[in-house]
């Protein structure tokens, strides 16, 4: 965050051509003029009509009341049919002299505002504002309709058994998806404006009689203290509100699955939703929430736990195989069976690089394939497979650049890293793997152990919004014990104690 002094210095240094906006601000702060013409010219000025093509001003005379009026809306974000059917037509075809305007229009909600700034905010949100000659207020009619795609399948967090729908870019839809799962009047959707210029809005979802008020207050305070011109979506917001921006480990869970968001809400977590983000942010988050997928609860008890065990093994394989290969071949060759050692020695006979370099070449190549595969346009996609498998695998071995065992080691590690589905943790694991490889290259197994212990120290010291990162495993809290493995559903009796929810008991055991 910039201090005012720093900001001033920066301005002086850059000599920014800034123009004072105080006149504009003054215009926007005034109340609505009773003279329709003044009022309209003000709005035309602000919205640069007629340069600005999609801002529409429809002037009309209200039938029977014989009053001059004008409807202002932006036709790209308002439902024009709605504007026509519910606002303009009723006004034009009014047959009763004594009716109030609020009774004439048939829009879903009608409210009145008196300040120019507020009226503008409504127009910017796709609503229609009706100004009437002689009135110091205007009517806001709900006609907003932003374009968005339809609800589609979850693409990043795929599961086999369970709901398939995912959040899309429209917050209203997303809230609806959550409400579909929690039909409870205590589910609160609050909105907080977080940016000054683009007026981005964040929806804070929580369950009123579960959430810890201190936590909620803390999060709301952090949201409203943001001071940025625009924060377009949750991926950006996540970086604004997280505590350790430089940490390799994420502290806020980013998920595109409404079922996941709902189950976290029911545990007393807080969910953030936003327009333009096909996802939700869940906070606080612990290490386990990144490690889990909802599938493990949807699968039956034994299969869910087998999946967890597999993922735990995969996590360690992804972190350690390459590093172990490096340290064993360089420092502890007595640790492997003679057959394997001789096989490694024989395959390395004609390779010109030390084992560390060999591993690093392959790891970097693997990361490149992954990155390129992500960015490549669909029609060229198959090339990546050919280049990756044939050229990097086969040819590197026949050209004596890489020994075949290294390919197995790196491929195994790479494959296992995919089983960590959370994108943040996935990146963390992939990056930490390289640190382990260098530690192994310098110190062998000793270095790896030291690094691992330091890593554990760090994990234990981490906190996400006041919640220890490895809770409820360490430190121990009352919880339903959903960490490395899960218990039977009937035994998941408690909400996580580290959230200090208002109601800790989830269910009263067996009936």
């Amino acid at each position: 965050m910039w201090t005012p002094l720093q900001r001033k210095k920066l301005k002086q240094k850059l000599q920014l051509p800034e123009r004072s906006a105080s006149k504009d601000i003054e215009l926007k702060e005034q109340s609505i003029s009773p003279l329709l013409n003044d009022c309209l010219s003000l709005f035309k000025n602000i919205y640069s009509v007629p340069d600005n093509k999609d801002v529409q001003i429809r002037e009309l005379t209200i039938n029977k009341l014989e009053m001059q009026a004008a409807a202002v809306f932006i036709n790209t974000i308002a439902d024009t049919k709605e504007v026509e059917d519910r606002v303009i037509q009723p006004l034009l075809l009014n047959r009763d002299e004594n009716k109030q305007i609020t009774d004439i229009v048939t829009a879903q909600t009608v409210k009145t505002v008196t300040i120019v700034k507020d009226a503008m905010a409504e127009i910017n949100n796709g609503n229609t504002v009706v100004f009437v000659e002689g009135m110091t207020k205007c009517f806001v009619l709900n006609t907003s309709n932003f374009q968005s795609r339809a609800i589609s399948n979850a693409e990043d967090e795929v599961i086999l058994k369970g709901p398939k729908e995912a959040f899309n870019e429209k917050a209203v839809t997303n809230i609806s998806l959550v409400r579909k799962k929690i039909r409870n009047e205590n589910l609160i959707v609050e909105s907080v404006e977080i940016s000054k210029r683009s007026k981005n809005e964040v929806f804070v979802l929580y369950i009123k009689d579960l959430v810890n008020d201190e936590l909620l207050g803390n999060i709301k305070k952090r949201l409203s203290s943001l001071n940025a011109d625009a924060i377009q979506n949750l991926s950006l917001l996540e970086q604004y509100i997280e505590e350790r921006q430089l940490s390799l480990f994420p502290s806020i869970l980013y998920t595109e699955r409404p079922d996941r968001a709902a189950s976290f809400l029911e545990d007393g977590h807080i969910v953030l939703l936003m327009d333009n983000s096909p996802a939700s942010l869940i906070l606080p988050a612990t290490f386990w929430s990144f490690f889990h997928t909802p599938e493990e609860h949807y699968l039956r008890f034994p299969f869910g736990n087998i999946t967890r065990a597999l993922r735990m093994a995969a996590l360690f394989i992804a972190l350690f195989t390459s590093a172990i290969y490096v340290s064993i071949t360089n420092y502890h060759s007595e640790m492997i069976p003679p057959d394997l050692l001789l096989a490694i020695a024989s395959t390395r006979e004609k390779v010109p690089f030390p084992a560390v370099v060999e591993i690093l070449i392959m790891e970097v190549a693997f990361e490149l394939i992954r990155e390129a595969g992500l960015r490549v346009p669909n029609p060229i996609g198959p090339t990546i497979g050919i280049v990756g498998a044939l050229i990097l695998g086969e040819a590197a071995v026949s050209a004596n650049i890489i020994s075949p065992i290294v390919i197995i080691v790196v491929a195994l590690g790479g494959l296992c890293s995919f089983s960590v589905s959370d994108i943040n943790l996935n990146y963390a694991v992939r990056f930490i793997k390289f640190i382990f490889i260098s530690a192994a290259g310098i110190f062998g197994i000793y270095g790896m152990t030291a690094l691992f212990i330091m890593g554990i120290f760090y994990l234990v010291s981490l906190k996400s919004f006041g919640v220890p990162y490895l809770a409820p495993l360490s430190p121990k809290y009352v919880s339903s014990g959903d960490t490395m493995f899960r218990t039977l559903l009937k035994n998941e009796v408690f909400r996580p104690g580290y959230l200090k929810p208002k109601d800790i008991v989830k269910k009263g055991g067996e009936n």
């Binding site: 003679p338 050692l341 096989a343 310098i442």
Partner: protein, 416 residues
């Protein structure tokens, strides 16, 4: 402030990296792996002659590539003061750094093992980091260098595989003892029991006549065919780090069945058939429980009662006596086997008491219970007391199966 602290810590950490680091780093292919080490007494050139058996990793470990025309192993013999500094001396002829990481076996010639000074060189193995305590110690009848040169396995061409399998199988059948370095040091330092090392030879001994199959020393078994002539059978007996005698295959087996620290569990042997003197029956001895040893001390004289539990499976029936169906015959068979086993056990014990003057089956471990303090035990001097002890051996036998098909044909009826 915070940032500066972190920076300082990082710089310190980087400096610390330079303090230690990768100086013992060595790529696997830069080493020459010694699989076997031969030690001989040298006549004139130096104190000892060291023979190194070095594996060539390029042969036989890859499906494609590699150098298939190269020999599978390299053998060099050179005079030396010890077998540690040899690692450098050998570089005069060997291109890579020598490593004892993969060593399987240390072979000592019988001549050298009988030297008083032998143990001085053996303790170098306890000093060298690369030599593990699970390396086996073997004594060769001929010179170790000769043994290694003559030993040419036909099927397991890669030397480490040959020694691995040969030793593992030999230990399982009980014909050679499990003689790793750790046991050698342990038994020598206890100074109460005898250590058995596997006894090997690659030279055929033509002078012997046919005896009972297991009662051989290496080289004595007449094996023909195209196979490698190296034989692993029997054991060399060490007392206080000096070789004092040898045991044949059968004696080695008995010593191991008596020893609760060895895990020999089932062996096949032959004994005279009680129903026909001309034949021998094959039996499988299964030791399911440890030997029960009871000791008492009467007027300074040891009294030892050993009870060896065996389950016996009779595998052949050459006299066609069909004992499986006849409880009378089973009884005879059982008594016969029991007395035969007890007899051979007692003979063996007699040999250890009179000839070797020590026991090779860790009896002192049971004896420690008789004393309340360590000095008392040390004063007793187990090694000296053992030859005078009264030892009784009882075989507690249970009969198990009588082969897959219990009944054999009635020969007289068939040949009528």
């Amino acid at each position: 402030m915070e940032k500066r602290k972190i920076c300082n810590a990082l710089i310190l950490l980087l400096i610390a990296l330079a303090l230690t680091g990768c100086w013992d780093k060595k790529e696997v292919e830069q080493k020459a792996y010694v699989i076997g080490l031969g030690l001989d007494k040298s006549e004139d050139k130096g104190p000892i002659n060291v023979t190194l058996l070095i594996a060539n990793p390029e042969v036989g470990s890859q499906q494609t590539g590699g150098a298939q025309n190269e020999p599978v192993q390299e053998i060099i013999t050179l005079p030396a003061n010890d077998f540690i500094s040899v690692k450098n001396t050998a570089n005069v002829v060997v291109a890579r750094e020598l490593s004892y990481d993969l060593m399987e076996i240390i072979i000592v010639s019988e001549e050298f093992a009988k030297e008083k000074e032998f143990i001085r060189w053996m303790y170098d193995a306890a000093k060298e980091r690369e030599i593990r305590r699970d390396i086996f110690l073997a004594v060769s009848k001929e010179k170790a260098s000769e043994f290694i040169k003559k030993n040419k396995p036909k099927v397991e061409t890669r030397p480490h595989k040959y020694f691995q399998f040969m030793i593992r199988q030999g230990i399982q059948t009980g014909l050679i003892p499990k003689s790793d370095l750790h046991r050698f040091f342990k038994v020598t330092e206890q100074d109460a029991d005898l250590f058995l090392a596997m006894y090997i030879s690659s030279k055929k001994d033509e002078s012997t006549t046919f005896g009972n199959v297991d009662q051989y020393l290496p080289g004595e078994l007449d094996i023909s065919g195209s196979s490698n002539q190296t034989q692993f059978i029997g054991s060399a007996v060490f007392k206080e780090g000096i070789m004092i005698g040898k045991l044949n295959g059968q004696e080695t087996r008995i010593a191991q069945t008596f020893d609760n620290t060895s895990n020999i569990s089932n062996v096949m042997v032959t004994y005279p058939d009680p129903f026909d003197e001309d034949y021998k029956i094959a039996i499988r001895l299964i030791k399911k429980h440890p030997v029960d040893v009871k000791m008492s001390l009467q007027n300074g004289r040891l009294n030892i009662n050993m009870e060896v539990p065996f389950t016996v499976e009779v595998l052949t029936d050459p006299s066609m006596a069909n004992y499986a169906t006849d409880s009378e015959k089973v009884k005879i068979l059982k008594e016969h086997l029991q007395s035969t086993l007890e007899k051979s056990a007692l003979n063996f014990i007699k040999k250890t008491q009179e000839e070797l003057k020590g026991n090779p089956f860790s009896l002192s471990l049971h004896g420690r219970r008789l004393f309340s303090t360590i000095p008392e035990y040390e004063d007793f001097d187990w090694m000296k007391s053992y030859p005078e002890a009264d030892i009784n051996v009882k075989v507690k036998m249970e009969l198990g199966e009588f082969g897959k098909q219990t009944k054999v044909i009635d020969l007289e009826k068939v040949r009528d």
